[in-house]
C-alpha cells in the first residue's frame, strides 16, 4: 500500500450555486480553434447532455471541466471555484469529488477489476476490508460483481464501460462526467449503460455531464426514470419529461443550443432540425 495521506475534502458543496460554469471559454490546438467562447452552467442535480457532431469539441469540453487541460481564455468554475485560481494540489483534491467515465473506459490494464474500482479508495487509505465491501456494492450497482477478479483485457467493451462507471461512482462524487459512455457499443449494450446512468441519476441525484452521439440515448435519459421497486428503467408516466435534464449542443466549437428538452425538440433553427432528424 502507499504511504499517502488521506485526501482532504476542502470543497464544500453549495447546492445553491452552479456546480459547473463555463464563462467565455475558448481553446485551440496547433493554431486551430476547437472551442470558441463557450458559456453555460450546470445546476446542482442537473443532468446536462452534450450533443454535437464528431470533432466539435465535446471531449475537450469534458477534459476542461475536470481541469485536465487549461483553456486559452475564459474562466471555468467547478463547485464555485475558478480552476485557474487553484494550485495543482487543489486540482487533484477537487478531482476526488468528480467521477469520470472515459470514452474508451481507460481502465488500468495491469490491475484487476477490484483494484481498478478501489483505486480511489486505496489512494484515500480506506481499509482493505471496507474497500472490498464498497467495491462489491459498486459492482453490484453495475451488475458486474462476478467479474471482480478479472482483468480489463478479459472483459467485453460493455463490461469495461460498466467497470468504469463503478470506478467513477464508488466514492459518491458530487459530479460525474460521462464521455460517450455508449460510444462504440451495440444498441443493446448501449441501453444497458444508459439504464445504469439513469439509475445512478435517480438513486443518488448526482449532477452529471454526459456526452453522447446517439440521440435516442439522450432522449431516453430525458423521458425515462429508474423504478427502484422494479429495479428497472421505465418511461415517465403520461409522456412526462425529466425537468433536471438539459441539453447543450455544440457545432464547430460553438454552443448552438443551451436549454431544456422541449425547447430542443421544438427548435426552429434549421441546423438543429437537420441534426436532430
Amino acid at each position: 500500500m502507499t504511504e499517502t495521506e488521506p485526501i482532504k475534502r476542502p470543497f464544500v458543496l453549495d447546492t445553491s450555486q452552479p456546480i459547473v460554469e463555463f464563462d467565455s471559454v475558448s481553446i485551440g490546438f496547433d493554431g486551430k480553434s476547437v472551442l470558441k467562447d463557450v458559456n453555460f452552467s450546470v445546476a446542482h442535480a442537473e443532468t446536462r447532455i452534450i450533443l454535437g457532431p464528431a470533432g466539435c469539441g465535446k471531449s475537450v469540453l469534458m477534459k476542461l471541466a475536470n481541469g485536465l487541460i487549461e483553456p486559452d481564455s475564459g474562466e471555468i468554475r467547478i463547485f464555485g471555484r475558478a480552476l485557474s485560481s487553484m494550485t495543482q494540489g487543489e486540482l487533484f483534491e477537487m478531482r476526488a469529488h468528480i467521477g469520470m467515465v472515459f470514452q474508451e473506459s481507460a481502465l488500468f490494464d495491469s490491475l484487476d477489476v477490484e483494484d481498478n474500482v478501489a483505486y480511489r479508495l486505496q489512494e484515500e487509505h480506506v481499509s482493505p476490508d471496507e474497500a472490498h465491501e464498497r467495491v462489491v456494492q459498486a459492482l453490484q450497482f453495475v451488475e458486474l460483481e462476478q467479474a471482480i477478479d478479472k482483468f480489463p483485457s478479459e472483459l467485453s467493451g460493455g463490461m469495461r464501460r460498466r467497470v468504469s462507471i463503478a470506478r467513477a461512482i464508488i466514492s459518491s462524487p458530487d459530479l460525474i462526467l460521462y464521455d460517450s459512455p455508449t460510444g462504440g457499443l451495440d444498441p443493446i449494450t448501449s441501453t444497458t449503460i444508459i439504464d445504469l446512468v439513469v439509475k445512478q441519476r435517480d438513486v443518488s441525484h448526482t449532477t452529471c455531464l454526459l456526452i453522447t452521439h446517439r440521440l435516442q440515448d439522450a432522449f431516453t435519459m430525458a423521458t425515462h426514470q429508474y423504478n427502484q421497486q422494479k429495479h428497472s428503467m421505465e418511461p415517465i408516466p403520461n409522456g412526462g419529461i425529466d425537468p433536471s435534464v438539459k441539453f447543450l449542443v455544440l457545432n464547430e466549437g460553438k454552443v448552438v443550443f443551451d436549454g431544456e428538452t422541449l425547447e430542443l425538440t421544438h427548435s426552429t433553427d434549421p441546423w438543429l432540425k437537420a441534426y436532430l432528424e
Binding site: M1, T2, E3, T4, E5, I7, K63, N66, L68, Q88, F92, E93, R95, A96, I98, M100, F102, Q103, E104, A106, L107, F108, D109, Y119, R120, E123, R167, L177
Partner: protein
C-alpha cells in the same frame, strides 16, 4: 509540410523546457508527501533485481575481454603483470559505470517509455489524474528513486564481476599469478577512482529514469507512437549517458587530478 528552422528550434526549446519541468517536478515529489513507497519497491525489484543477469554477464565478459586485450598490449612492454591494474582501473572508473548504465538504459528506459506510453495513449494517465492522483508523483518519482538507488549497486556488482572475469582469464588463460593480479589492481586504486566510478551511476540513473518517463509521458499516435517513444528513449538516454560520462570524467580529473 515544408521544413522550418524556426519551428524546429522552437520544438527543441519546448522539449528541453518540458523535460526540465518534469525533472524538477519529479525531484520535488521525492522530498514531499504523499510518497508511493510500495511503487518504489516494485520498481527497485523490476529495475535492480531484473537487470542483475545482464549486468553480471556484461561485467564479467567485459572483464574477460579487457584482460585478454590488455595482456597482448602489455606483453610488448614486458608489463604483463600490470594486467590486474589495467582491468581494475578500467572497470571501476569507466567500463563498469558506463556499460551498466547503457545496459540498464536499454532494458529499463525502453520499458518505462513503453509502459507509460501505452498508458498515455489509452488515456490511463488522464484517468489517473481524473481520479485525483498526480502521475508524476505516482509513476515518475518512484522510478527515479529506484533507478538511481539500484544502478549504484548494480555498478558495484558489475565492477566486481568484471574484475573477477579479468582474474579468471589472467589466471586460467594467461597463467598470471592471482595474488599479483589482485594486488596490482588494489594498489592502483585511489579514493578519486572510487568516487568517480560511483558518481557516474547516480547521474546515469537520473538520465535513464527521467528520459524514459519523459518520452513515455509525451507519447502520441497509438501503438506506433509507443514504439517511436521507446526507440527515442533508448537512443537519447544512451547518448546522454556517454556525454555525462565525459563531463563527469573531466570534472573528476579537475578535482582529483587523475
Amino acid at each position: 509540410m515544408r521544413f522550418s528552422p524556426e519551428i524546429f528550434a522552437k520544438n527543441i526549446v519546448a522539449a528541453v523546457q518540458e523535460y526540465s519541468l518534469l525533472c524538477a517536478h519529479a525531484v520535488g515529489d521525492i522530498f514531499s508527501r504523499p510518497r508511493y513507497l510500495a511503487d518504489t519497491f516494485i520498481q527497485m525489484d523490476s529495475i535492480g533485481v531484473g537487470s542483475l543477469p545482464i549486468v553480471v554477464l556484461t561485467g564479467f565478459f567485459t572483464g574477460c575481454v579487457l584482460a585478454l586485450q590488455a595482456a597482448v598490449s602489455l606483453k610488448e612492454f614486458g608489463a604483463v603483470n600490470m594486467t590486474g591494474r589495467l582491468v581494475a582501473l578500467s572497470m571501476i572508473k569507466e567500463l563498469g559505470p558506463v556499460l551498466t548504465g547503457l545496459m540498464v538504459s536499454g532494458r529499463n528506459a525502453s520499458g518505462m517509455a513503453s509502459e507509460l506510453g501505452s498508458m498515455k495513449v489509452t488515456e490511463q494517465i488522464d484517468a489517473m489524474r481524473a481520479l485525483g492522483t498526480d502521475p508524476i508523483r505516482k509513476l515518475v518519482a518512484p522510478r527515479l528513486v529506484a533507478t538511481i538507488f539500484m544502478l549504484f549497486f548494480l555498478t558495484i556488482i558489475s565492477d566486481a564481476c568484471g574484475i573477477a572475469g579479468g582474474a579468471l582469464v589472467a589466471v586460467g588463460m594467461l597463467r598470471l599469478n592471482a595474488g599479483a593480479f589482485f594486488h596490482t589492481g588494489y594498489m592502483s586504486l585511489v579514493r578519486g577512482d572510487i568516487v568517480e566510478g560511483l558518481t557516474k551511476p547516480l547521474f546515469s540513473g537520473f538520465i535513464i529514469a527521467t528520459i524514459g518517463c519523459y518520452y513515455g509521458l509525451r507519447t502520441t499516435g497509438g501503438t506506433r507512437g509507443v514504439g517511436r517513444s521507446t526507440t527515442q528513449a533508448v537512443v537519447a538516454s544512451s547518448v546522454l549517458i556517454i556525454l555525462m560520462d565525459f563531463l563527469v570524467t573531466q570534472l573528476m580529473i579537475g578535482i582529483f587530478g587523475r
